[in-house]
Amino acid sequence: MSIYAVNKICYRVVREPGLRQALGDSPEQALRAALPPLSEDELQALLDGDVGRLSKMGANNFLLHQLGRFRLLGLDLPTYADRIRAAYREA
């Protein structure tokens, strides 16, 4: 599956308060309902808030940071930034 599915989730969280609520209440259920479907790899990385991995998988960083901005999947902006920095420091 293309990383587009991850990018689309990040795109949607900006404009869909209902999706943000669902990702807070029941993240796995909300992610499994996403269309196009996420791969198991993508889904697990999202549930883990592993934005470094998602970034390296090719997710769009501008879109990805919206997860931190809206404090979703265990992230906030400082946590988001720390994980991105860590991922690329390891590279």
């Binding site: 990018n7 689309k8 795109y11 900006v14 404009r15 970034s55 769009n60 960083n61 501008f62 879109l63 990805l64 940071h65 931190g68 902006l77 400082p78 988001y80 930034a81 991105i84 920095r85 991922a87 690329y88």
Partner: protein, 280 residues
């Protein structure tokens, strides 16, 4: 005929209105810089603004990502991506927008039309400071400067010049100014962020070089240097420079009336009077 009278270039950081409202330390500087650009526009007394902007994955992402598009709705609201900010309905000069789109397509530019959309913060933040009464209609020109591949800088300049032709061929005597919205070096959420933030300014030297070229009116040189590789090195939002290059293509490439950078933030504020002849 329509007349191009000048233009401005400004950034669109979404936090700036709040900083000014709360009178935080940066507020006085923002007041001065946006105020200089706003006064320039008031002096130009335009009937319409050609507004060059880069969509931030808000208007275009699902159905299609156009390299260039012109908005032809009667008006559009925003910002779509920061609902907590002041909302505006921005009037659009539909007749001029359609005339411009038709002219540039017939001139060889593959420019689409957008008929129903919301504006995101790169449009509403500058207008919040420049024309807060929303009493000057705009023609929004979307340039894809965030999602590579980008249009080449020379192409953006040529598009701006061709938009000028379209305006100068209009039968009425409207005064038209151009606005560019964007940064020179800026990374949002990617590996080039700073150690302190989810944003960063990875290439301040590029900002310096742009400023030197703009001051000297060296648009040929700036266009030659603004490769996709250079823009990418300057951050994942640095393609916004293409809006400035298109704006300068519209008004001509000579030196600015005012130009000042906020180097640590990776952007600048500039005002120009139009050249009397189109620079190709």
């Amino acid at each position: 005929m329509g007349e191009i009278v000048g233009g401005v270039g400004v950034p669109h950081t979404p936090h700036f209105p709040g900083i000014v409202d709360r009178q935080e330390p940066l507020a006085a500087e923002l007041d001065r810089l946006y105020g200089t650009a706003a006064q320039h526009l008031r002096d130009l007394a335009p009937d319409v603004l050609i507004f060059f902007t880069c969509d931030h994955y808000n208007t275009f992402f699902i159905e299609s990502v156009p390299i260039f598009s012109v908005g032809v709705a009667p008006s559009a609201c925003g910002p779509s991506d920061y609902r907590e900010l002041q909302a505006y309905e921005v009037p659009i000069d539909v007749a001029l927008a359609r005339r411009i789109q038709a002219h540039v397509v017939r001139s060889g530019f593959d420019v689409g039309i957008s008929q129903e959309f919301e504006f995101d913060h790169p449009v509403t933040i500058p207008l919040h400071f420049l024309t807060p009464a929303m009493d000057v209609p705009i023609v929004p020109v979307f340039i894809n400067g965030l999602m590579p591949p980008f249009p080449p800088a020379w192409r953006c300049r040529a598009l701006g010049a061709t938009i000028r032709q379209a305006i100068e061929e209009t039968p009425d005597t409207r005064r038209v100014a151009a606005v560019a919205s964007g940064s020179f070096s800026l990374e949002i959420g990617g590996p080039l962020i700073s150690a302190q933030s989810h944003t960063g300014v990875p290439d301040p030297e590029w900002t310096d070089r742009i400023m030197a070229r703009l001051r000297a009116g060296e648009l040929d040189e700036l266009v030659a240097e603004a490769s996709e590789e250079q823009l990418t090195r300057a951050g994942n939002a640095a393609g916004e420079l293409l809006t400035w290059i298109a704006m300068l293509g519209t008004i001509g490439g000579r030196g600015p009336a005012f130009l000042e950078a906020q180097r640590d933030l990776g952007h600048a504020y500039g005002t120009w009077l139009a050249d009397s002849a189109v620079h190709q």
